[in-house]
Symmetry: none
Subunit: 480 residues, 2 copies
């Protein structure tokens, strides 16, 4: 059997190696056009690799037009010879650098089960689009385009659209931040904010400290920048501060990353006291804080919890990344970095180098929407709405899933730990019954969290929340 000759190396993802081997075999005439390949199940057994790796390899080969599937018949080679004589065929696979390979390898969108119609998906924590005020957005668009359309559609400034910057500065002031020495850079969402910061300050091998578990996009970025990640275990009030101090003492730490509100994935909201202690520890060891303002918009008003950036006063120890994407218009990709003026001035050049600026049209629409009072009205509506959803989802979890470890104080998701049940196994069984969720392992720095999962309920209606959680609960009972 020709497949048994594959020697896997440790450097590339297995599925890439399978893919390249199949292409190689075709190019060498070992398969002809129309040849039937083994099934993914057979091939995974022959090669002694996971079936998912084979599926991924086949998917890519299909995308490239190298093979195709016929329903009920199997998978077949589509081409006679990948390398026609006189074509120019560059072997791109060997040209990607480590960064590109990591971007793909860590791209969970490509490895996780994708959303399909009729699936009840607890994967998403993005806002329910039906809640957006389309009429208000129309008004804001028509207002700005009439006032300054020619300007908005032409090149703008790297730092951003000034009225939006001014609005956000005063918005941050209302959160208690002293903005007198601060400025704002508008970014393509939170992700670009973090990317700009990491690409400007870190070198391969630098150490970053963060919560463990933490936001999987952040972990991905730390990894593609080849950082040494020190994860701090969490208590009910955020990072375990004793462990934090120990790690700060023992490591030469370049930056820290903290998600203090509705922490992703645990849902923990750090209390003021712990925020203050964490801030002072970072200050003591002179480790700058990247604060992810994630979901802060959903905090109950009057809770007297301010962002860590507010504790920094007129100092320059905190880089705050803000975004409305979990409540408002993520499709626009607008976020911001708030930091010391001199830092923003530098990062403005980095932004210009990467992609010049964020769409001025979108910035102006968002500004108008925020400024005319629509945002406040909208937030009032959705806070109530998501609070009810959260309470209902929590009730369902308590009713149908028997575990003591239920985390999350609101927001758009609940985090669970199930003793001795592997959430990947749980997922594959639930998937058969039409329910999917995020396995918690993707949020862990180390190889832990296999018994955890995150349930995002923001885009589901009450009926599906109950139905889905009931199914998850019943599968858990089966597995026990």
């Amino acid at each position: 059997m020709i497949f048994s000759n594959i020697d896997f190396n440790d450097e590339e993802p297995i599925y890439i190696q399978i893919k390249n081997n199949i292409k190689d075999m075709i190019s060498k005439g070992m398969f002809n056009k129309g040849s039937k390949l083994p099934s993914t199940r057979e091939l995974s057994e022959i090669l002694n690799v996971s079936r998912n790796s084979v599926i991924s390899a086949f998917e890519e080969l299909k995308d490239e037009g190298v093979i195709h599937s016929q329903k009920g018949k199997g998978t077949f080679v589509s081409i006679s010879n990948v390398y026609k004589e006189n074509t120019w065929n560059i072997n791109w696979d060997e040209k990607y650098n480590k960064y590109a390979n990591l971007c793909e390898e860590l791209d969970i969108v490509k490895s996780e089960i994708p959303w399909e119609k009729d699936l009840i998906s607890f994967k998403s924590i993005s806002p329910q689009g039906e809640l957006f005020d389309i009429d208000e957005i129309k008004k804001s668009f028509l207002n700005r385009i009439s006032l300054e359309g020619h300007k908005l559609l032409n090149y703008g400034y790297a730092k951003g659209y000034q009225p939006l910057i001014n609005y956000l500065l005063s918005y941050m002031e209302d959160k208690g931040v002293d903005t007198s020495n601060k400025d704002i850079l508008i970014t393509n969402g939170f992700t670009e904010g973090l990317d700009i910061i990491l690409s400007s300050f870190t070198k391969s091998g630098d150490t970053i400290i963060c919560e463990n578990p933490t936001h999987n996009t952040a972990i991905k970025l730390f990894k593609v920048y080849d950082l040494n990640i020190v994860g701090i275990d969490m208590t009910d009030n955020g990072m375990d501060l004793e462990i934090l101090e120990k790690e700060l003492k023992n490591n030469d730490v370049k930056l820290s990353f903290v998600v203090p509100s509705y922490h992703n994935p645990t849902g923990i909201v750090m209390r003021h006291k712990e925020r203050y202690e964490l801030y002072n520890l970072m200050k003591k060891y002179n480790v700058p804080i990247i604060e992810d303002g994630f979901n802060e918009e959903l905090l109950h008003t009057g809770s007297h919890i301010c962002p860590i950036a507010a504790l920094d006063g007129s100092s320059n120890g905190v880089l705050y990344i803000g975004s409305f994407s979990k409540v408002l218009f993520p499709g626009m990709r607008i976020g911001w970095i708030l930091a010391d003026k001199s830092i923003i001035n530098k990062l403005e050049s980095v932004k210009r180098c990467k992609n010049i600026h964020v769409s001025f049209l979108d910035q102006a629409i968002l500004y108008d929407y925020l400024n005319n009072g629509s945002f406040e009205k909208y937030m009032k509506k959705i806070k109530k709405f998501y609070k009810e959803k959260y309470e209902f989802a929590l009730e369902c979890v308590k009713k149908y899933i028997h575990t003591d470890y239920i985390m999350g104080e609101g927001g758009l998701h609940i985090f669970l730990k199930l003793d001795n049940i592997n959430s990947r196994e749980l997922l594959s069984r639930c998937y058969e019954k039409g329910v999917i969720f995020m396995c918690g392992d993707v949020f862990y720095i180390d190889d832990s969290g296999h018994d955890t999962l995150r349930l995002g309920f923001s885009r589901l209606d009450f009926e599906d929340i109950e139905k889905g959680i009931k199914i998850i609960g019943s599968v858990i009972d089966e597995l026990r």
Copy 2:
């Protein structure tokens, strides 16, 4: 509730302890200036102390100016006090990495003379915003937002908005490109397209070949990625192909970068013959081509000049970067990479890692505008318009500036070489007379081009074009 944490001792009067606790909370940032305190009645209940103790504490705090009462509204914190004395001052300048420092150092926006009112500026080659069809854009927006607003404002896909991708694939087919194995990634303009490619394929020290001079943004990106740049001198038909072959032989070249149409800054349009020869040379030495489709939209139709990507047939040797930004809506920041499907599949993950995706709202508006025929109508109008401007500007240059070296075959700019006149000196004298332009040196890889300049006329009216060029000409005569 934060007040519940107060532990009273037996040594001090209760009201003093309440007072000190409130001051302590303010100093720790738990209350900000303007925060509302509980009423004396509420606080006495929370703390389980007599109301008189609370009243006494408040009275003393008022005397000290720490809090104040507003009749009928309540009691508020008067001071903002977060670490006034004990600031945390990080020396950020020593924390930036080489990339960030280069981004700033090479950011010509920060070093060149900025635009001011009343200046006649030949610096820009961006489109004249007044030509944009605002009414058509409004229609496209209202159409898409009504059809799929909730979807467009929520998260989309990293590769881009599929109707726009399909439109652009067929648009590229119309240019002669075989798109059967190709796919498209939507990027935040040309700049991000090049950034994604360089960040995915290059390592520090890799060699890239390009025209000398070339697009200054491209040079900046090559430098921030620490590439070894080999510039090829140009003839009237693009890169000198003899020099190119010599350099391809002598260097281990990773990638090449070519601007074949209305080359920036020289304005040269490579003929088909040289495109074909260049393509074959790169193929012979197996050096992939990054083709910058810059200003291709302004080419005369029926000129039988196709992009180099079209010469590549079903091979995978060319990465084409497209953008309408020199004719249409640069403020939206939409460009694209067209390449082999497997490459786009990889770069999609890189895009997702950098900033998830380009604004779906903008992509949908642009798609609608392109697809409903507005683009065609607009291009017809502006081709005529810019052609007239070009011819007028060329006439003025010939009339007022005495030099034999005038380059540019249309497009939005003219490139000049002035024997023995330093264009920086020329610029500073012209600036005094209210005229600015781009010094040519920023487009050169090596330390040459000091006697060259680029005149962009796209945003100037006929009167200012003549007035400005006349001034430049007179200053040149003075300097001779």
